[in-house]
């Protein structure tokens, strides 16, 4: 399956975006987010960006006060996932212009649209920023 979930969490551990590609109940989600966030937030910049959690890995990257956490299967290429996170941030940045936490909160659905263009069912679909943003621009124009 590849990617199992994408989480955006701020430094206080509050979830800012959550997209799961496998079914988890609400309680499971909360528990998982709590555990992972606790693990990742405790790490410093000197540590590597991979955390093993249960039977999968979490690849995370920090941008200022925001943590991007991606849960992947064990046979997934971790370095590529790091690049993927960066691509996601760049895409958001291109759309919002200097993206920040509040942009993501207040335009949650747009971020979801972007993510949807990039990842489907845990697989990466599109890696061109232009192609990712095209439908969103269209929609913005029409509304």
């Amino acid at each position: 399956m590849g990617i199992r979930f994408v989480l955006l969490v701020n430094k206080q551990g509050q979830t800012r975006l959550a997209q799961y590609y496998e079914h988890l109940s609400l309680d499971q989600r909360r528990a998982l987010e709590g555990e992972i966030v606790r693990k990742c937030l405790a790490r410093t910049d000197h540590h590597c960006s991979f955390v093993e959690h249960r039977n999968y890995k979490v690849v995370y990257r920090r941008y200022a006060s925001l943590f991007f956490l991606v849960g992947v299967d064990n046979d997934e290429n971790e370095l590529a996932i790091l690049e993927f996170i960066h691509l996601l941030v760049e895409t958001m940045d291109r759309h919002f212009g200097n993206v920040c936490e509040l942009d993501i909160m207040f335009h949650l659905e747009k971020v979801h649209f972007m993510l949807e263009e990039m990842v489907m069912n845990g697989c990466i679909v599109e890696t061109s920023k232009q192609n990712i943003l095209a439908p969103i621009h269209l929609m913005d124009k029409s509304s």
């Binding site: 609400l26 540590h47 960006s49 590529a80 192609n131």
Partner: protein, 1039 residues
């Protein structure tokens, strides 16, 4: 002094508390204090904040409520300073002060401050500087901007809040988010969410059309916070069925977020999906494909698979790529459909669009996993295409849209390499076909950027996975070596990960990096340490075991506390696996025990004890080493246990330096030193119950080994007589009595433990990993009783089983199955587990069964006639003991005394409880006045045959609501022909007296001419009078 809330007087209804009198401004992340404003990450001074906020209305008056410290009358720090005009005029006061002279009479406990309008809205330079100085973790410009930007936004929002628009709608998405962020406690947040949910529900049920989009967005936010949002599911479906694109867009998003494939509701959406898949607008088709790809169930996959197949042929690349990924989901749900997609998947590989290519490659990978047939087909048909794609992307000139750090589309690279791995696995032809291109990628890819390394990493993995040539493998291993010496932790981590896989291919090559890997075990990063440790564990073999173990043990001393657990387990495992000589094993184990004894698992030190017990030539060395270690590191739990056990067993070797090895230096330990060591361990504050119990046993043994210390030991043991833990108390009392009164049997009782059989211990250790511990315990307990065929039941060598047996038999409720199975506590396992494994060979399981059967009175069928000869029930054990050591029994019986019962003037009819051709049992009943639930039964047994019964044992079991106590029988030999019948007393307490009648199941075993006999029966003909409430005795029985 903190102010929690600022309320602005506002004519508008407050959207949070519904109060018309004010509007809440404070936002979640602001704690306004006189001096400072706290945001989660930064501190702003109130001054700097207000100074830079432009307030649109002149002299806005804000009243604040001081929530936390109403008693504080004045906040001096925030007072406006008339000398400095630039400073915001700010007075916070409890109640009556005011700044604005025009302000009418202030209300109670409301303070007022006004903000001058002179300043402009811009970021105060210090804040901007502070924000810009946020450490920038991974390079790139975004982080800096993110931080700066959030500061700007916070300030801006604050300004907006202050200059509030009285006509703004209270329920915008933005407002809701803001309200949620403003919540300080979880309860507050729940309240806000509940209110919002109620509003959304109402809107949904009213069929509100205007705000559907917004409501959905809110629901998504609420869902993200982890609140239930099931009531929005139907609304999603409605939105999807709507005609407009924006509605569909949000509807599908909601569908993917709020629903999952298990929900019934999803079936309702199939039709809408089908329509949208056939829609003329490619974006709508894309939406439907996306939704289908994310959540479709097996049924939907079957229903909609033809549409998806058709869409794979579409002209639009956007549609094609989504259809390809949708097919992945379908194939995963219904593998049978794989063959339908094989042809189109291969043809998609000829496309130019990267999105289509990456999707097609992933589809091919999935097809290979789904069906053998597809794998063969793709091996034949798609390798050309793959090689071409890989060559194209790696040789292509700069492509701005897909460029990442100078490499064109690393994601596509990686997916193609992955598919090559799947295809080449175990197939020489395919492997050969891709050899060249892999070599090209491995040599030409830049390795100074993360993207390049990602490709190299995948490439190495593919080379390791397929049947690559040896040259290519060397290349791959070299790349890994480079990775391993990289300074970037991420790269090192993946290198370690890869080396694990490389172990399977080329162990020698990995061995070359051993030193570097060992360094990684000591890394600061737990992820890397863990990987490295696992790798080291794989690397250990006969030749390097000693060196590696030494390294690891050395590191154990300085490692993190939370890493010691893993490290200890691995070291113990290595040491056990590769120990060639026992001395080395012992040395390593002693080191580990002294360094990390608290982390050593029970089975490891159990095994150590077994080994020491078997190595008679090393026992002296062991006990001396352990003694030294105990003095040095007395706080390591496992070390203390092993040491104390050894001192107890081999105390004289410690004192007399028996069995000195050449390497040893002689030490002088006096008898009282040894006792001291154990005493210290016993009294150590942190010692747990097991350790203390073991200390007591060791002391008892030492009292026999070193007679001069006996008096002192008696005192130490006696100190625990009042211990709050029953187990310790009991041991202490029993042991004191052994030391005091039973000098004659003490030496034989406290002999050294018999050598523990290693083989059977290993078997048991393996078995005990399954969760059958309790029955094991019971088996051990049962055999311990049964196998000890000693005439008086006392002179048993180890005292521990004695204690345990007594423990079991003194249990008031041996009849309740649950109690019996759980009653044996850890000691039973600890001590019997070690001490009695040699006896647990033959029939323990069947004995357990008997015991269980007997105890569970409700069980309908008995498990056939088992061998009972070596089964000695609790009752009998007590019988035997009672005859010789009455004081022990007295102590054990404790509360329910076994003294002769007073004669009571009640008379119940006797019954013949049991009669067979050979045996007759009659019961007489007595009750004490005032205790109707208690019945004393006097059982007499009559032998009806002409042979004498020996080893006569009577057992009884009762339902859970009854408590049963069996007193010793008058004899265990039943003479022939009804003479001299044996008697035995039972006392029964019916906890549900008056509700449930007495019932009892009995079992009698005995020997006739050395042959085992077994009889059993159920007694239900107890006199009715026993069962009803009768303050006046038998009258009731008559009526």
């Amino acid at each position: 002094m903190t102010i929690d809330l600022i309320h602005i007087k506002c004519p508008q209804l407050c959207n949070l508390c519904g109060n018309r009198s004010h509007f809440r401004v404070r936002r979640g992340h602001f704690l306004v204090s006189p001096k400072e404003v706290y945001t989660p990450c930064k501190k702003f001074t109130l001054k700097s904040l207000f100074k830079n906020v432009e307030i649109k209305k002149r002299s806005t008056v804000i009243s604040t409520t001081l929530l936390e410290l109403p008693a504080v009358s004045e906040v001096s720090a925030a007072r406006s300073d008339p000398k400095s005009p630039k400073r915001p005029k700010l007075i916070l006061k409890n109640g009556l002060d005011r700044l604005d002279q025009t302000n009418p009479a202030p209300r109670e406990r409301g303070a007022i401050f006004a903000i001058p309008t002179t300043t402009t809205f811009q970021i105060h330079p210090p804040i901007a500087a502070a924000a810009a100085a946020v450490p920038n973790p991974r390079g790139g410009e975004i982080p800096r901007r993110l931080a700066l930007d959030s500061v700007e936004k916070i300030v801006e929002d604050f300004a907006m809040d202050l200059a509030i628009n009285p006509f703004s709608s209270g329920t915008r998405l933005r407002d809701m988010i803001r309200a949620i962020r403003a919540c300080k406690t979880a309860a507050e947040e729940r309240a806000v969410v509940r209110r919002e949910c109620a509003a959304i529900r109402a809107a949904i049920s009213e069929g509100d059309q205007d705000y559907r989009h917004r409501n959905m967005a809110k629901l998504m936010f609420i869902h993200m916070l982890g609140y239930p949002t099931h009531f929005g599911q139907m609304e999603c479906l409605k939105l999807i069925a709507a005609a407009g694109f924006p509605e569909k867009r949000i509807g599908y998003l909601g569908l993917m977020l709020l629903l999952d494939e298990r929900q019934e509701v999803l079936m309702l959406v199939t039709n809408s999906l089908k329509q949208d898949l056939n829609h003329s607008n490619q974006f709508i088709v894309g939406l439907a494909l996306c939704a289908l790809g994310n959540i479709c169930s097996a049924e939907m996959a079957r229903d909609l698979s033809p549409e998806v197949e058709r869409l794979l042929q579409s002209r639009e690349p956007n549609t094609k790529k989504k259809a390809a990924l949708c097919s992945i989901r379908i194939v995963r749900k219904v593998p049978d459909l794989a063959e339908n997609f094989m042809g189109s998947a291969v043809s998609l590989l000829k496309e130019k669009h990267h999105g289509v290519l990456i999707s097609a490659v992933q589809l091919c990978t999935e097809l290979c996993k789904a069906s053998r047939e597809a794998l063969e087909y793709l091996r034949k048909n798609c390798l050309d295409g793959l090689v071409r794609i890989l060559r194209d992307v790696s040789n292509s000139s700069y492509a701005p849209e897909y460029d990442i750090a100078g490499i064109t589309d690393p994601f596509l690279h990686i997916r193609v390499l992955k598919l090559m791995r799947v295809l080449g696995q175990g197939d020489a032809d395919c492997s050969e076909f891709v050899n060249d291109i892999l070599a090209q990628v491995a040599t030409k890819t830049e390795s100074n950027k993360n993207a390049g390394n990602a490709i190299l990493y995948e490439c190495v993995e593919t080379i390791m996975g397929i049947e690559a040539t040896s040259g290519l493998r060397v290349l791959a291993i070299n790349i890994l070596g480079r990775f391993l010496s990289n300074r970037d932790n991420n790269i090192r981590y993946v290198a370690l990960n890869m080396l694990m896989k490389a172990m399977a291919v080329d162990t020698q090559a990995v061995q070359r990096h051993r030193a570097t890997i060992l360094e990684c075990v000591k890394d600061a990063d737990v992820s890397i340490r863990k990987r490295a440790l696992e790798l080291v564990y794989l690397l250990v073999n006969e030749t390097n075991a000693k060196a590696l173990t030494k390294e690891l043990v050395d590191y154990l001393e300085v490692s993190d506390q939370d890493f010691k657990d893993d490290l200890t387990a691995k070291i113990c495992s290595i040491v056990e696996k590769f120990s060639q000589d026992k001395l080395w094993y012992l040395d390593q184990m002693f080191k580990v025990l002294s360094l990390a004894g608290n982390y050593v698992k029970d089975d490891v030190w159990h095994a150590l004890i077994v080994l020491i017990s078997n190595a008679s030539e090393l026992q002296g060395y062991s006990v001396r080493s352990l003694y030294k270690a105990l003095l040095a590191c007395g706080e390591q739990e496992s070390l203390v246990r092993v040491a104390v056990w050894c001192i107890g067993e081999y105390g004289e070797m410690l004192v007399n330096n028996v069995g000195m090895l050449d390497i040893e230096e002689p030490i002088t330990v006096t008898e009282s030193d040894a006792v001291d060591a154990v005493e210290v361990s016993l009294k150590r504050y942190s010692a747990d119950v097991t350790t203390r119990a073991m200390c007591l046993v060791a002391l008892l043994k030492l009292s026999s080994r070193f007679p001069p210390t006996s008096e002192r030991i008696k005192e130490i043991v006696a100190q625990n007589k009042g211990h709050t833990v029953l187990e310790l108390q009991q041991r202490s009392i029993e042991f004191s009595s052994i030391i005091q009164r039973h000098q004659s049997i003490k030496s034989s009782l406290l002999e050294r433990m018999p050598v523990i059989d290693e083989a059977s211990y290993l078997v048991k250790r393996a078995a005990s990993t399954q969760a059958t511990i309790s029955s094991d315990k019971l088996a051990a307990a049962a055999t311990s009783g049964g196998s000890l065929k000693l005439p008086n039941g006392v002179a048993k060598p180890p005292p521990a089983p004695l204690a345990d047996l007594l423990d079991l038999s003194s249990d008031d409720v041996p009849a309740t199955t649950s109690t019996s199975t759980t009653a044996p506590n850890d000691f039973l396992q600890d001590l019997l587990g070690i001490g009695l494994t040699d006896t647990s060979g033959g029939a323990p399981s069947s004995s357990t069964d008997i015991l269980m059967d007997l105890l569970s009175i409700g069980s309908p069928v008995q498990n056939g006639p088992p061998a009972v000869s070596n089964f000695s029930p609790p009752g009998q054990a007590e019988t035997k003991l009672a005859s010789v050591t009455p004081q022990v029994v007295d102590l054990l019986d404790g509360l329910s005394s076994s003294t002769p019962l007073p004669d009571v003037n009640t008379a119940y009819p006797s019954i013949t409880a049991f009669q067979s051709a050979t045996l007759k049992i009659t019961f007489d009943f007595k009750k004490q006045p005032g205790k109707p639930q208690e019945t004393t039964i006097h059982a007499s047994f009559t032998n009806l045959t002409s042979n004498t019964f020996t080893d006569f044992i009577f057992q009884a079991a009762v339902p859970k609501f009854i408590q049963l106590r069996l007193d010793p029988a008058s004899s265990n030999t039943l003479p022939a022909s009804g003479n001299d019948s044996v008697t035995q007393s039972l006392s029964v307490t019916n906890n549900q007296h008056g509700q449930k009648p007495l019932a009892m199941r009995i079992r009698i075993s005995y020997k006739v001419n050395g042959e085992d006999r077994l009889e059993q029966g159920q007694i239900s003909n107890f006199p009715a009078g026993l069962n009803c409430y009768d303050p006046f005795g038998p009258k009731c029985a008559v009526s």
